[in-house]
């Protein structure tokens, strides 16, 4: 009995020690997290909550607004420019995400192979990434200027007609997509390059022994092995595309008409030009919900696909 009691006491002490240890570890974990949590709370969660509050108000930019419930959201539902901007954002995302990832992966494979002066090529491709979006868009303005831009001059010189990059809706949208690709492909390439460098060469060797062609090696070895990179890039590119602002704002200012207006430029227009900040906050909240929904879907959808093997 006493032996049992002794064992019980020892077991109880061990359990208490274990709990204390776990408690201490939890405390230490939270201590490490605290600086980030405080910064995230102050600069992300509180502003998001605040924006949600403003989205329920009618404001003129100054002083306290009037609470109007969900009227701003009802206005959004009736606003054709909002729907056009939402459609443009979706189209932009549908084009940018696969194109930037596809080109990024292709270039990464190329740069990962034995290519002369690949360091130089890598630098050239990554260079736009280190320039701000505004500067990139300004370069885009020089390239896509309808009258005096480099591209139209080249097209005219080669006997092809000039393209209405600034006055044609579809061409203006294409110019935004092209400049964005130029800016974003480098980032995608870097992530894929890092992923590729973790792939064991033996996998390719065994595939070759099994008679796999270059395409089959790419399709059945490379693509699955860079699955985690693909998942990461998918999330990052969708979020980026939903939030695109600087390139559109500088390159086309949402025009001609509303043909390149996206949700963030429309929110900016309402929030900082018209100073209808309640309405702008409502657009922001819709954008947040869309981004969270897509990210959650990707997360769920990709769980089975981002595992190698």
């Amino acid at each position: 009995m006493s032996a049992v009691a002794g064992a019980g006491t020892r077991s109880g002490r061990a359990s208490r020690t274990g709990r204390r240890r776990r408690h201490s570890e939890t405390l230490a974990g939270y201590s490490f997290l605290a600086p980030n949590l405080i910064i995230l709370g102050l600069f992300l969660f509180i502003p998001v909550g605040w924006a949600a509050g403003i989205s329920l108000q009618s404001t003129n930019g100054f002083g306290s607004g009037d609470f109007i419930g969900f009227e701003n959201f009802a206005r959004l539902a009736r606003d054709p420019i909002f729907w056009q901007s939402a459609f443009n954002t979706a189209l932009f995302t549908a084009l940018i995400v696969p194109l930037s990832m596809g080109l990024g992966l292709g270039l990464a494979v190329l740069m990962n192979s034995v290519l002369p002066a690949r360091g130089l090529f890598r630098t050239i491709i990554v260079l736009p990434m280190v320039i701000s979006g505004v500067a990139t868009a300004l370069v885009g303005v020089l390239i896509f200027d309808q009258n005096n831009g480099v591209l139209n001059k080249l097209l005219k010189a080669s006997g092809l007609g000039a393209i209405p990059w600034q006055s044609g809706g579809a061409a203006a949208f294409a110019s935004v997509v092209l400049v964005t690709l130029w800016w974003r492909v480098g980032f995608n390439m870097i992530i894929y390059l890092a992923g590729l460098q973790g792939v064991e060469p033996e996998l390719y060797e065994s595939a070759r022994i099994d008679g796999a062609s270059s395409w089959k090696q790419f399709r059945y070895v490379t693509v699955p092995m860079v699955g985690p990179s693909t998942f990461f890039l998918l999330v990052m590119n969708v979020i980026y595309s939903f939030q695109v602002f600087d390139i559109v704002y500088v390159l086309t200012n949402g025009g001609p008409g509303y043909s390149t207006s996206v949700l963030v430029t429309y929110a900016y227009q309402n929030g900082f030009v018209t100073r209808d900040q309640g309405y702008a906050a409502a657009i922001g909240i819709v954008l947040l919900i869309l981004t969270l929904a897509f990210t959650a879907l990707q997360w769920r959808f990709s769980r089975t696909r981002d595992q190698v093997g």
Binding site: I39, N60, P164, G255, G257
Partner: protein, 433 residues
């Protein structure tokens, strides 16, 4: 192990304290811009190099004539100016003084953000300014700023291109300015002479310049706000004439397709690159034109129709309602608009004065001072009634409506009737907000 845990706890605690300390440091971000010293003012502005030099010299002169007074100049890029000011006003950290264009002034004065200068300045001060400029800084009959300078658009033209098209003379007095019909005839003649990739003119309504379209409306003797400055008044024969006339520039290829109101290409750049033979431009562009236009160019007046009309460019200086030194702020604003201070500033930066006493003076601009008279005379076409409409608190929202609807009219195929109806609806919404 115990030691290990203690070390972790210690590190965690250090991390927490470090984070808190870092965040405490961040409090510096929200330091009020309002100067704390009794004789100190903060002044936020944007500006070109010559404008900033003018401000620095004026501040030095103010400090010299007011011993103990100190004005701290904060310079921000124009693109961020009003976002910053809005945020600072909302958070109670605004500067004592800031520079503001006449389109935006009403947004602040109409929402209680500016100091009513009435109690702090002599009644006679208002009489020193031209009527239209003094009207431009008022809201509900009270002055909420001082008109520091103005600017307006005239036509700059390429002399060689005009000679090639057989146009040998341009109007050299305000009274003989081209009528709309004459201007249209000149543009049509040029169109017939120019190659396909060149255009008769470009109008400067791009970016935030859409207010400049109103010059056409004023020339047609129209208005966009009724006398109460709330009711839309653009649904008129004058409104339709202005939309019809300007809309016609695009299909007739009198202006480049990419020069509509939302374009990222400025009219002046189109002119400098010889894509257009004329541009509408403010006096502030004279130094750029002298440097960038690789051809001989001159100036003439903007067209007139039922009357002459021009845009209300330039900027005012205002004090914020939360300033703790209203007397000093008013004294500084008065000093900045004294005859000598204004003259030096305007001459240095190629801008137009707002004091009646300076309107007839020669302005020896550093570049093309010979053309200053065109701008000064053109500015006299702006009427106090025009200025009152532009100083409306709803002007920022009205600008968005104009930009959206004129873009649709110019290159979206929207009819004049729909454009007028949509602008009317937009103004109603903007003024009721």
């Amino acid at each position: 192990m115990t030691m290990d845990l203690n070390r972790r706890q210690l590190l965690g605690l250090a991390g927490t304290l470090g984070g808190v300390a870092a965040l405490s440091g961040c409090a510096g971000f929200s330091r009020p811009d309002t100067a704390t010293g009794a004789d100190e003012l903060t002044f936020t502005t944007w500006g070109s190099d010559s404008e900033l030099l003018g401000f620095e010299q004026a501040i030095a002169a103010f400090e010299e004539s007011n011993p103990g007074a100190k004005v701290t100049l904060n310079v921000v890029p124009f693109a961020q100016m009003f976002e910053n000011i809005d945020a600072q006003l909302q958070s109670g950290t605004a500067p004592d003084i800031f520079r503001v264009d006449y389109d935006n002034l009403g947004v602040y004065s109409g929402r209680g953000q500016l100091l009513d200068l009435g109690p702090y300045i002599d009644d006679a001060v208002g009489n020193q300014f031209t009527d239209q400029m003094w009207r431009a800084v008022q809201f509900d009959g009270a002055p909420y700023g001082v008109p520091h300078h103005t600017d307006t658009s005239t036509i700059l033209y390429n002399k060689d291109a005009f000679a090639a098209a057989g146009i040998t003379a341009v109007p050299d007095t305000l009274e003989s300015a081209w009528t709309w019909e004459e201007f249209d005839q000149v543009a049509t003649t040029l169109r017939g002479q120019l190659s396909d990739d060149r255009y008769p003119f470009a109008y400067n309504w791009q970016a935030s310049g859409v207010t400049r379209w109103l010059s056409w409306l004023f020339q047609a003797d129209g208005r966009f706000l009724a006398d109460d400055l709330m009711t839309p008044a653009i649904d008129s024969a004058a409104g339709r004439a202005a939309v019809d006339f300007t809309k016609g520039f695009f299909p007739r290829r009198l202006v480049p397709e990419n020069s509509s109101v939302k374009s990222s290409t400025f009219a002046s750049d189109i002119f400098f690159s010889e894509t257009s033979t004329m541009t509408f431009a403010g006096a502030f562009l004279l130094p750029d034109a002298a440097k960038l236009a690789p051809f001989e160019w001159g100036a003439t007046f903007s067209p007139r129709n039922k009357r002459g009309g021009g845009d209300l460019g330039g900027n005012a200086l205002v004090a914020t309602s939360e300033t703790t030194k209203p007397e000093l702020a008013a004294e500084f604003l008065t000093f900045m608009t004294r005859e000598e201070t204004m003259f030096n500033f305007c001459v240095g930066a190629s801008l137009l004065p707002t004091l009646k006493s300076l309107v007839g003076e020669d302005l020896p601009f550093a570049e093309r001072g010979d053309l200053a008279t065109y701008f000064v005379q053109q500015a006299s076409n702006v009427r106090p009634d025009d200025a009152a409409q532009i100083a409306s608190p709803a002007m920022a929202a009205i600008n968005t409506v104009l930009s959206d609807e004129l873009e649709q009219a110019f290159i979206g195929g929207q009819s004049t009737d729909d454009t007028i109806a949509n602008i009317t609806a937009g103004i109603t919404e903007a003024t009721s907000r």
